[in-house]
Symmetry: D2
Subunit: 337 residues, 4 copies
Amino acid sequence: MNKIRIGSVGLGRLGLQHAVNIASRVQHAELAALCDVDAAKLKEAADRIGVPRRFAAFEEMIACKDIDAVVLASPSALHTGQIAAALAAGKHVFSEKPLGVNVAECKEAEKAVEAHRDMVFMLGFMRRFDESYQYAHDKVAAGEIGKPILFRSYSQDPEKFIAGAIAFAPHSGGQFLDMAVHDIDLARWFVGSEPATVYAVGGCYAHDEFAASRDGDNVSCLMKFKNDCMVFLFAGRTAPHGYNVETEIIGTRGILRIASVPQKNLVEVLDGGGVRRECSQNFLERFDSAYVNELQEFVNCIIEKRKPAVTVYDGTRVSEIAYTCKAAFESGELIKF
Amino acid sequence: MNKIRIGSVGLGRLGLQHAVNIASRVQHAELAALCDVDAAKLKEAADRIGVPRRFAAFEEMIACKDIDAVVLASPSALHTGQIAAALAAGKHVFSEKPLGVNVAECKEAEKAVEAHRDMVFMLGFMRRFDESYQYAHDKVAAGEIGKPILFRSYSQDPEKFIAGAIAFAPHSGGQFLDMAVHDIDLARWFVGSEPATVYAVGGCYAHDEFAASRDGDNVSCLMKFKNDCMVFLFAGRTAPHGYNVETEIIGTRGILRIASVPQKNLVEVLDGGGVRRECSQNFLERFDSAYVNELQEFVNCIIEKRKPAVTVYDGTRVSEIAYTCKAAFESGELIKF
Amino acid sequence: MNKIRIGSVGLGRLGLQHAVNIASRVQHAELAALCDVDAAKLKEAADRIGVPRRFAAFEEMIACKDIDAVVLASPSALHTGQIAAALAAGKHVFSEKPLGVNVAECKEAEKAVEAHRDMVFMLGFMRRFDESYQYAHDKVAAGEIGKPILFRSYSQDPEKFIAGAIAFAPHSGGQFLDMAVHDIDLARWFVGSEPATVYAVGGCYAHDEFAASRDGDNVSCLMKFKNDCMVFLFAGRTAPHGYNVETEIIGTRGILRIASVPQKNLVEVLDGGGVRRECSQNFLERFDSAYVNELQEFVNCIIEKRKPAVTVYDGTRVSEIAYTCKAAFESGELIKF
Amino acid sequence: MNKIRIGSVGLGRLGLQHAVNIASRVQHAELAALCDVDAAKLKEAADRIGVPRRFAAFEEMIACKDIDAVVLASPSALHTGQIAAALAAGKHVFSEKPLGVNVAECKEAEKAVEAHRDMVFMLGFMRRFDESYQYAHDKVAAGEIGKPILFRSYSQDPEKFIAGAIAFAPHSGGQFLDMAVHDIDLARWFVGSEPATVYAVGGCYAHDEFAASRDGDNVSCLMKFKNDCMVFLFAGRTAPHGYNVETEIIGTRGILRIASVPQKNLVEVLDGGGVRRECSQNFLERFDSAYVNELQEFVNCIIEKRKPAVTVYDGTRVSEIAYTCKAAFESGELIKF
């Protein structure tokens, strides 16, 4: 079987991890090229991973005939443009979230994808590829917990990364866009319905800097979905203990909790602190295998001429919801979808 | 030291437990009399516990000179009348929640208490007397978790008691009044502030019977408190695993979770179900010692001529909030306090 | 019903707790008298608890007609003498462990008990009265875990109490006599058989002072019981996290673990230490209700003219086994019973 | 970098997994050939994985010039012969445990390895490559728990696989050789010392069939190591809940527990069984990534011309200890090394 030759764009923390994963952990894939505007970073990464072809310009990379697909981990504002260009150049596209920085852009991406129905397009909602989330979703899909009553999901970043979060705040779109977007995706996936209402609250509990972006360091929202399921989401930047992504689905016949203790491994420590589990500290650690699995699925879809379960419309829908949450937060009013 | 002679009213499940606790587990107290309109139930309980004096009429009981205090576990609609009468008769009063069945009644109770400032009046918010809740509250009060960001509290009754809940639904006032009232009390106690807004959702996920009372079998609400703390409450009647009262307080420097596994004891079972903890099944089991502790505090207050930390105004305030949650649930609209 | 009037002997930490429990937490009991050779300690305790009758001499106390029973928390070397004297004086006797400081003494105690078959005699194996141990024992007795394969039990005292343990070492009889004796009692109770062999190891890992008493700061033994069940016991003085008494029973159809996390309550803390449970720090905290329950059973046996399930022969047998463990530890050889 | 071309021998459950791992999960490696005497099994696996070169005869495979290394998952009795032959043919060798079926064979393997010091030889003690065991070992090595006092390790196979275990019993060497061998390896690795004494017990608690091989279905042993550390090992075939490999290291300053709940993932289920974690069911599931990591280390050693930390002498030593445990079990006597 010929390997899928992938050009990967963007060498931030996640982009770098995608590059390493493609090069060494995704089957039937080959890291054919790397692209980044930062020449030094590009050279360092390409040398280390062992990628001969390097591009400063995205357009040049997608002009290459022998590249089959691109992985976009570029700045969010570039996503929709690069999606359209790459599809037009005949490349399959895997894009990191968000699909676009506003809903209009998402609609543009939809058009591009619709114009190239023979190509594979996939969005990076990696949590769906975490084995624990998949295991829980299988149980829900099999009816093991009955009808969903309450879906609760948290995304908490450790306080120790707060400086970066503050610096990025003016560009992040806020906690709902930047963090809760994954929880919104999970809510739609698990609940199988769409939000009907949203009320959002929050504030700057430890770091007033977020107020300048009309955001909070911790926010939450309560939504009612069209099938009546209650959805409560919480996103925060000040977790004292680690990177805490946890989800609970309360059903009429059973309850599932995913990662309610964000333990980094199976070691339990008994010392002056009591009996304790040390915690994962960031998304790359917690979702290490999920990042591999999602790219594997992307590659498998290309090979098997299938379409991923995550569609471009999921990207638009999640963005719409996140923007509505943000509007609810900013206005302090209940919003009906 | 002379014992405080208590007359206890009402022999439902909780009233019976109060009677047993006074008779045998509360120091410096004596169960002097029992009162219930059901003659058979009264005889059975009084014989078993060993209480010579029995009353069908509350008025007769409080006419007794040698009774120092009354414990009210009577039907909610009788509370405020009995409170006023007992205080007027010179008895200290411990009343089960709710203070009254509407806010007007609560205000009547306030007046009665204010008219007898030399008497001890206490409301049965027993969770404050659970050792785990007290331990957590001490930590919060000591500033160990910093400023509160999110307060989340669940009250879930097991599905197996659903028939009783349905039968009682027309009289219960709904889940916010009947169940979440304890969570509202905890929220005010832990957060140290009052609600500013509330949005409430829910529905009949398994049992349509609750709709007739404009209620759901599971409900939740998101509030913003005046000090900006987010408060999320969930109350449900269909828990598959047991009686699940859990609370989380996320602060800027630490997070506390109380009873996130509602384990009945310290036994872990490893069998075909995996590694598992069996759960408490009802409030009497979970809060067994809290029910003793609260009555002990009531008795201690009488002896030491102190006033309990839980005041009649807490009862009114919690009722007002619960009614507002109920109104928010019924209207589907955001309510600002 | 008349209350059982109890005279309590010895005002060390546990003796004091017994006194408080009798005075205020055990039903149908009355703390009629206190006895201790330390006059200051006696006055302080008796004043605080409110006990009018105080004795320096045990003989004087048991000469009182209106005392029904004695609770012995005196020095171990006095136990058998006091047991015999109290029984001869017509008093029911509850004695703390150990029954005697050697097996010959235990046999004396047996004779005294046999000579007064109308009196209640009970030994303080309090773990049998802990609700978690009782719950587990009920499951084992009901056959829920099948046939016992391995019984494992730990008794660990926190390092912070090491100074007291070292000071007491010459008189304690060693870890097997002083600590593992409770695990030996549990083993016989759960397994329902007697040891056939024992091999014991251990040493001074942190504190060489124990070597002077031919003991270790941490020791363990592996026994084979006559019904083939394997029994592994571990006793240590250097626990970094708290007072850790845990037990596991592996059966052919199920496994039970009691207190494998020695959590002090239901609060979980999430902070820089990860997700953690704070631990119980001493036996009085961990077995608070068990100490009440065992005295309640003692009193109930007196009232109901029953005999406790724990007999004087259990005391002798456990002592014999503990001495054999100690001999195995000292010799380094396998001992067959 | 050229890939290391590996020929893999044996297509049992573990052999098959090794083949898949080499083909798709180990970096810088290529599955060049497969070898098995079962032609049907060989064809099926080679077709599925996509390996063109297939061998019935091991000798033919190692005669190939373009094979760099072999992975041995063949029957235990063939290990030492194949190790010697492969090394003589200039191949690096990774062998599954056990090194040999008796100590004499192990010594033969040592000689073969010593005769080819330029080749990489590695034994499959995969637990050392599990991330949780590595994390714990790093803490121990860094002195975080002080001096080791007690090392306890369990290996339990689920009851549901008992038929296979009984069928294999005459050839397995018994529980100490077949299962506890991994715990012995861990003990030496964590404790950093060698056993001085061993006492072993056990029996047929559920399945008398093991008696015919002078073995039990569950066995345990207590060893004292030369540095005084106590070591307790337990191996069983009748676990009711799953595949339970857990380890505890009690030190003078801290305690570590690895996998004390053998949870299969991060999902917690709340249902009629209480709050529960579902368990891993077999070694391939539990040690999935460890099996990849150990082969990765093997390949990395070849590439970097390093020697693995696990040596042939570890294989001999572990076998010697396991045989001594077995002898102790069979004799019922204490054995001093």
